[in-house]
Symmetry: C2
Subunit: 351 residues, 2 copies
């Protein structure tokens, strides 16, 4: 065991505050990572405030973690001390079910162990996340990070990045396709960058007209304002694929209308009820499809990191010291960030 | 023009009653069919009573039509007088859009012309359906019917049959797959027969335990009672495909839980709001898919008719005289039919 320092929520209603806890010592397959940067994901806020219920406190959020390997177990083969490394939403899974065997640990039949707000595998001990000075993780759940990239802007790739990369790859987005990215936030801005890098004609679909110019800077070929009914009608039935990054329940019917026959919209942000309700007839006429996707497996996460290094893709970030995490949450609630807060963990007073 | 006799709804609240109207004379590509049998689809009731709004009155329902060709236009090539013929939900479409060119007239970009509750193409004249003594239809929208089959039991194939056959084919249901058919009514009982004939392991999923034995008679290998939470949990994540035939809005979440990773549930019955609302998280964990499907194109409808002749598949029907159509609607509302009412048009007093 070693003493770790971070910030935690103690219940759904109090601000995050300094918190000291014990981390296990690295086992033979583990690496210990000194955390340099930790992204703030919208889901950190949802979980810290128990919006999805079942929150486990104390909670140290953070699952977009970039750091430097400080210690490796005897059987570790992928990492050596000094390497840059990333940890995302998962730190463990059963490793023997059909999904784990297919490198899709996020769909583990027994449930993956999440980086925080989860119990460690076969244990009552809580998993604590990235708003802290170090973390110990089995190497299967750690990815290599190219030192070529701007590391602070790499952190959000571990969640916002893989969450958008995985469905774009799975549904084979590429040249000749018209692809819409719905919602311009942490996920959406990565979706635009990836879809563009994959060769698609990218349309940013946003309710906020003044984000239009920024969407084009990020790589969008067109901007479609979802509140403009005439514009929505003009694009009806024209999209090969839609990546829906809206982080809350919403009316999906107007977006379904944008799909071509047999085309798919994939939800990556909205975990809760899709209200007003989906109308069956909107799927039937045109055999339109709705699906969802959750992050990506560890092999695909590494593939995405390599793709980013090759294409020079990182997140657009705004740095905050850990002491301002609560203010950052308030701004996040107002969608006031372009496009991801990242905590500089150097700001943490280490023990 | 020739005088036709049938039964019509004059508004949303009155019973269907005898109605005389004019049918156009056959053009060069048309066939005139003397109607022998007309199935009663659940949607006849929805439309006659304006449940979906926008009903056009007077309305002669009926889109599961079997009859004998009585007259053919000069350019008709597929039919001769005396042939048995079927007409389903459509009688026309634009014939030049990408969907029509792909033999998917039901998704016509300009909107198909429906057999009733629709206006004739480029006209203000109403289309009148199969609860009548004859109908005139362009041959592209008429299918050949094998005289080997029991004709009165063939009528429901034109809607209930193609509606279930088409998605089972499109999603390539076959041997080695576990396929669930949700809802045992007019559509569901055809879904069971088709999925079985295609070689799948078929599970009938019903809220009505006493339909279980009948489902097995129809070909189901297993019965799953949707109200039995333990049984539903035991089948979680195990289905390769679900055909959802429930004809009204309902909670789809418990059925989504039955799907394997990357598997699809297709809605063919519920046109309205799916309430309580779908939860995004239920699609995300396992990349589960929901889609819909509407009837089938004319080429596929002919393929289905041929498949039925080859496999000896017809609908289970209960015959009613046209004078009892209103009583049949009341029984349909109570789900009291196994599994399709068919009107014997010989009961109609012809002019």
């Amino acid at each position: 065991m070693s003493l770790a320092h971070g910030y935690a929520a103690q219940d759904a209603h109090s601000p995050l505050a300094p918190f000291t806890f014990e981390r296990r010592s690295p086992g033979p397959n583990d690496v210990r990572i000194e955390i340099l940067y930790s992204g703030i994901c919208h889901s950190d806020l949802h979980q810290a405030r128990d919006h999805w219920s079942g929150a486990l406190y104390p909670m140290v959020p953070g699952h977009e973690i970039i750091g430097r390997v400080a210690e490796v177990g005897a059987q570790v083969t992928k990492f050596k001390v000094g390497d840059y490394a990333g940890v995302g939403c998962m730190v463990d899974s059963c490793r023997h079910c059909e999904h784990c065997n297919a490198d899709l640990e996020q769909y583990c039949a027994e449930g993956a162990t999440w980086t925080y707000n989860s119990k460690l595998r076969n244990s009552e001990e809580l998993a604590f996340g990235g708003y802290s000075d170090h973390i110990v993780v089995e190497e299967r759940f750690v990815v290599k990070v190219s030192p070529k990239l701007d590391l602070k802007a790499v952190a959000p790739l571990l969640c916002a990045g893989i969450t958008t990369y995985s469905p774009l790859r799975h549904w084979q987005v590429g040249p000749g396709q018209k692809v819409g990215v719905i919602g311009l936030g942490g996920l959406g801005h990565m979706g635009v960058k990836f879809a563009k890098a994959m060769g698609a004609h990218v349309v940013m679909i946003t309710s906020t007209p003044d984000k239009g110019q920024d969407a084009k800077r990020l790589g969008a070929d067109e901007v479609l304002v979802s509140r403009d009914k005439d514009a929505m009608a003009a694009h009806a039935g024209s999209f090969d694929f839609l990546l829906n990054t809206i982080p809350v329940g919403h009316d999906v019917n107007p977006y379904v209308a944008l799909l071509k026959r047999d085309a798919t919209m994939v939800l990556v942000g909205a975990l809760t009820e899709l209200e007003p309700a989906l109308r069956g007839v909107n799927l039937m006429f045109g055999r339109k499809r709705i699906s969802g996707s959750a992050i990506g497996g560890m092999a695909e996460t590494q593939e995405m990191m390599d793709f980013c290094a090759e294409h020079g893709i990182v997140s657009d970030v705004e740095m905050v010291p850990i002491q301002q995490v609560n203010e950052a949450y308030e701004r996040l609630l107002k969608n006031d960030v372009r496009y991801r807060f990242v905590i500089d963990m150097a700001s943490l007073e280490r023990g």
